[in-house]
């Protein structure tokens, strides 16, 4: 298989980043985060993380604090954090089965990719049904009806297939929590990733439930990366775990990362390092596989509700995780994983339609950019339980403004309802349409001095003659500066958005799956233990 060159990677949406914080505020939040990491520092229980911090020059002290198990306070000096920020690479390459779907993220470059996210427990499937008014039988309507079921491998396969064919999905985070009882817990990771990798040629990302799964996972990823290549070739696809160059620009100028990367949440808010996820961070960092250091404090319960407090805290938490990774293996590829949410004030559930969800995220994007580390950001979750108007209205502000801020990697963007509890394929299709529109809205303005001169000439000439510019529109259409309508807008008077989106969904389901070759599947089954019967991955 030919290595992908830079030119062949997946196209990102370049924006002129909109900002929320002034440069001064970014600086003072950075200072506030450093202050927090020094005092109170991070509360830490895991031996492995503790050893890494100590070796890296952090002061640790065993403490027994009211109500908690005994642990250590780790005070991370500013100099250690600054060194970690320096060693974290500015460029992270996320490979894909199809090299043309490789993503290149650069911390200082506001180029945006959109992807799925979370691990919804429930899947909401839909079909259209016709209804007639009881009072006025001549009044009829087509409306979706729904059925909700517990997430399974079969749902995950279909979801990966859908993500493969939705044009605005740039990467796939396993978005359905497959709860098949037939899969033993120690084998869940390989099965989940295999389900995804089998059906999408885009980058696949997720958590690692069990650290024991890391090596089999890497073997799976390598085999998938060489799909279509001769087995036993000298350098199949260039994926080579343990090698420092992996996931970076190769000597020949080609890029080719693993088709898989991980997410870990080492810090529980506020400021507590969790033993087992911290251990995963260290292990994944040592394996040099791209890793999202994700934190999700909830403003109003586990973090201050006001944005300056939230951003200072989450930034400190991400910096703590990032420092751990860089101390474990300097230069390992990390993403700044921001998932700041706000609490509802009636029941302290996550509240994604809240304006602060957007404010928090925008702050994080700016912090990450100031460090030159690619930002994994969050946008596009609905609190609504069903696809449609409420969900779309809740999602649009974050879809639009987080994209406009230039976050490199926006997760959560497709199909999530009921605060990430539900994945709705129909809503994913609707979100794809909304993101299509958002991409056009944030398109940077591109005119040159010549274009402006031409415009003045056009105005002069039309003002003297017909007074109608319509004919001149054609040139601008060709120039690519005239956008398209919302994908599900109706030409007529009726509003049939849901009907159209459901039709599109059904069409996408009908498309031929882009599966791995049989030869690769055989090799995977031979090398990776714990995979369930292959028929369980079949969506036909």
């Amino acid at each position: 298989m030919a290595a992908a060159t830079m030119a062949a990677v997946r196209k990102a949406l370049a924006v002129d980043p909109a900002t929320r914080l002034s440069a001064d505020r970014v600086q003072s939040i950075h200072a506030a985060s450093l202050e927090l990491l020094d005092d109170p520092g991070i509360w830490c229980t895991g031996e492995r993380a503790l050893a890494v911090f100590e070796a890296g020059g952090c002061r640790t002290a065993r403490v027994s604090e009211g109500g908690r198990q005994d642990g250590y306070r780790v005070r991370i000096p500013a100099a250690v954090i600054e060194r970690a920020l320096e060693s974290a690479p500015d460029e992270v390459v996320l490979g894909a089965r199809d090299p043309a779907n490789t993503l290149v993220l650069r911390g200082k470059e506001p180029k945006v990719y959109f992807g799925t996210g979370s691990q919804a427990n429930l899947v909401l499937e839909s079909r259209m049904a016709s209804f007639r008014s009881e009072e006025a039988p001549e009044q009829a309507a087509m409306l979706p009806v729904y059925s909700e079921s517990t997430g399974s491998i079969a749902h995950l396969c279909r979801s990966a297939h859908l993500a493969e064919h939705l044009s605005n999905v740039d990467f796939f985070i396993r978005n359905v929590n497959a709860q098949d009882e037939s899969i033993p817990s120690e084998h869940r990771d390989v099965n989940i990733y295999f389900a995804a990798l089998l059906h999408t040629t885009k980058h696949v990302q997720g958590g690692l439930e069990s650290l024991e799964a890391l090596q089999p996972m890497l073997r799976l990823a390598e085999l998938v990366a060489t799909d279509g290549a001769e087995p036993g070739g000298a350098n199949p696809g260039g994926a080579n775990p343990g090698h420092a160059d992996r996931g970076a620009t190769g000597r020949d100028g080609s890029v080719r990362g693993l088709p898989v990367s991980f997410i870990a949440c080492p810090v529980k808010s506020p400021l507590q390092m969790v033993a087992d996820t911290a251990e995963k961070v260290v292990a994944i960092a040592e394996a040099d596989v791209p890793l999202v250091i994700s934190c999700s404090p909830q403003g109003g319960s586990t973090a201050p509700i006001q944005e300056e407090g939230m951003v200072a805290q989450i930034n400190a938490e991400i910096l703590a995780g990032l420092t751990l990774a860089q101390l474990a293996r300097p230069g390992c590829p990390v993403l700044y994983g921001a998932v700041p949410v706000r609490a509802r004030l009636d029941n302290l559930h996550d509240f994604y339609g809240a304006p602060e969800f957007v404010h928090y995220n925008l702050g994080c994007v700016q912090m990450a950019r100031s460090y030159g580390i690619p930002c994994y950001s969050s946008a596009g979750v609905g609190d609504a339980k069903r696809p449609g108007m409420q969900a779309t209205v809740e999602k649009l502000p974050s879809h639009l403004s987080v994209a406009a801020s230039g976050a490199q990697y926006i997760h959560y963007a497709f199909g999530l309802l009921d605060r990430t509890n539900v994945f709705s394929p129909l809503q994913a299709v609707l979100d794809d349409g909304a993101i299509g529109l958002v991409k056009q809205v944030v398109r940077p303005c591109s005119f040159s001095a010549d274009d402006l001169t031409a415009a003045v000439e056009e105005i002069r000439s039309v003002a003297r003659s017909s007074g109608v510019f319509a004919r001149r529109v054609r040139k601008q259409l060709r120039r690519g500066v005239v956008g398209d309508a919302y994908a599900f807008a109706d030409d007529g008077q009726a509003d049939r958005v849901l009907e159209r989106a459901q039709r599109k969904l059904e069409e996408l389901y009908q498309l031929e799956p882009r599966r791995l070759s049989d030869a690769t599947v055989d090799r995977v089954y031979a090398a990776v233990p714990g995979l369930i019967d292959r028929r369980m991955f079949d969506i036909r």
Partner: protein
């Protein structure tokens, strides 16, 4: 170039919405090549029958209409073609003089008093010119008396009135009443504009209402063949 080739060039030029040498045409490739206006001038110099050129105009616009219906053309494309025919008509008209049967008729149009909206009216003008009508535009905010005076002077077959405001659409009724008072009964009055409707047209005694410029072309054709 043979006469046939020349007529074919004119047809193609109209379909491409290629107005004149300065215009770049539908696909942006035609700047610097003779456009519809130059081609019609050339054809006339080569003594092509004006009547034949007119036939080509109609055929070309029919094709453009088909492309629009099929979704291949956007409205700007169709307007560009209509503008080609409109401008070319100005060149052709003096040569057609006297052959009365070639005239589809004169259309007088105005936005009524108190109303400044003219985007829709201008589209109607372009399309009607493109369809071969002689159009005279009285502009915007035109008092009823001026419209009546213009009808007396130019004796058009059709009068078009445009209004976009609920407050100015009543002015249309005034125009029609004043036409009657002046004893003018042989001009067909067509109205348009977003707040107007077929019912409103009937109520004020107009001869027809059009939703859009395409319907205007169709309605006039229907009125012509009826009379």
């Amino acid at each position: 170039m043979s006469e046939r080739d020349m007529l074919e060039e004119i047809r193609r030029s109209i379909i491409m919405g290629h107005l004149d040498a300065e215009d770049e045409g539908f696909d942006g490739s035609m700047e610097g090549t003779p456009g519809t206006v130059e081609l019609v001038e050339e054809a006339l110099e080569a003594r092509t029958e004006p009547q034949q050129i007119l036939t080509v105009f109609n055929a070309a616009m029919e094709e453009v209409g088909r492309l629009f219906e099929a979704g291949e053309y956007l409205l700007p494309d169709m307007l560009a073609s209509a503008e080609c025919v409109g401008e070319a008509m100005d060149v052709l008209e003096p040569h057609l003089a006297g052959t009365a049967d070639t005239q589809k008729g004169t259309f007088l149009i105005a936005t009524v008093k108190g109303d400044l909206h003219d985007i829709g009216k201008n589209i109607v003008i372009t399309m009607l010119k493109g369809a071969g009508y002689q159009v005279r535009d009285l502009g915007i905010d035109v008092p009823a008396d001026d419209i009546v005076a213009a009808v007396k002077q130019h004796k058009p077959q059709y009068l078009g009135l445009s209004a976009l405001l609920t407050t100015t659409m009543t002015e249309m009724e005034t125009v029609i009443r004043k036409l009657k008072e002046a004893g003018i009964t042989d001009v067909k009055v067509i109205i348009g504009g977003a707040p107007t409707s077929e019912e409103f047209a009937q109520k004020i005694g107009a001869d027809g209402h059009c939703r859009d410029a395409l319907e205007a072309v169709e309605k006039l054709e229907a009125l012509r063949s009826a009379s």
